[in-house]
């Protein structure tokens, strides 16, 4: 992690961010993976993953995140999420119709169960989370470009 003392907020905020941002990301991944067993799912988990990046950007300045995920990469990842969801829907054609859940159901209350639903959750979380992160990146980059002029 880049520790540039000029940009970003004070030392206290940076230290707390360094401790908490990994936990927030991990919690988002947990919410996504357990979407079919407990409250949560792709929408909430994706927004939590996006919020962890936003948290990093607010504390350390925008260069830390834009050096890892540029705006174009975010747009591409979002399109990949949308295509993933469509292809999961198209898998159902092997069984007869669109959006048919043809994979093995498995035992209820297990992590690997419910057929295509966990895969759909992953695709939705990629789509929603990275999409909202792209919106935020567009807003932030605009502000930076205005100051340079």
């Amino acid at each position: 992690m880049i520790d540039n003392s000029k940009t970003g907020m004070s030392l206290i905020v940076k230290t707390i961010t360094r401790l908490t941002v990994g936990l927030i990301l991990l919690f988002g991944i947990y919410i996504v993976l357990h979407g079919h067993l407990s409250p949560g799912g792709g929408f909430a988990g994706g927004v939590i993953i996006a919020l962890s990046f936003v948290h990093l950007m607010l504390a350390f300045g925008k260069e830390v995140v834009t050096s890892k995920i540029s705006k174009n990469l975010a747009s591409n990842l979002e399109s990949i999420g949308a295509l993933m969801f469509l292809s999961i829907a198209a898998i159902g054609f092997f069984g007869g119709s669109f959006f048919l859940n043809i994979l093995k159901k498995g035992e209820p209350f297990e992590l690997f169960s419910a057929g295509t639903i966990p895969l759909s959750n992953l695709a939705i979380s990629l789509k929603v989370g990275i999409g909202l992160l792209a919106i935020f990146l567009a807003l932030v980059i605009l502000e930076g470009a205005k100051k340079e002029r």
């Binding site: 929408f43 927004v47 209350f109 909202l132 919106i135 807003l139």
Partner: protein, 112 residues
């Protein structure tokens, strides 16, 4: 019934903000309040007295669940609401750059 009426009152406050205020940000806030009241109304319609959350539990058979269908519809509606709000905000930022104000009557006056 009284809960439905209170929800409708919340809708009307948002409507007043949209119709009467001249600041763009106030109009966006009014739209957001309308969206909240509609979401709450849908979930109120699906509630059942002494109901349980629509999640199965291990080792017991739960019969009196609340209605999961309005909850599923509202779940998509919340995320769409965020996208719409972000789009409105970005248009408002562009208008502020061009005209230097959030006042809609002044924006109308300065054409071109």
């Amino acid at each position: 019934m009284s809960l439905y009426l209170l929800c409708l009152t919340l809708f009307c406050i948002g409507l007043y903000g949209v119709l009467r205020k001249r600041n763009i940000v106030k109009i966006i806030i009014g739209l957001a309040i309308i969206e909240y009241s509609i979401n709450l109304f849908f979930v109120l319609l699906g509630y059942r007295f002494h109901g349980r959350a629509p999640i199965d539990a291990q080792d017991q058979n739960i019969l009196n669940m609340v209605d999961p269908l309005p909850q599923a519809l509202v779940l998509t509606s919340i995320v769409i609401g965020l996208g719409v709000t972000a789009l409105l905000i970005s248009i408002a930022i562009r208008l502020y750059e061009k005209y230097g104000t959030f006042d809609i009557t002044k924006i109308r006056r300065l054409k071109g």
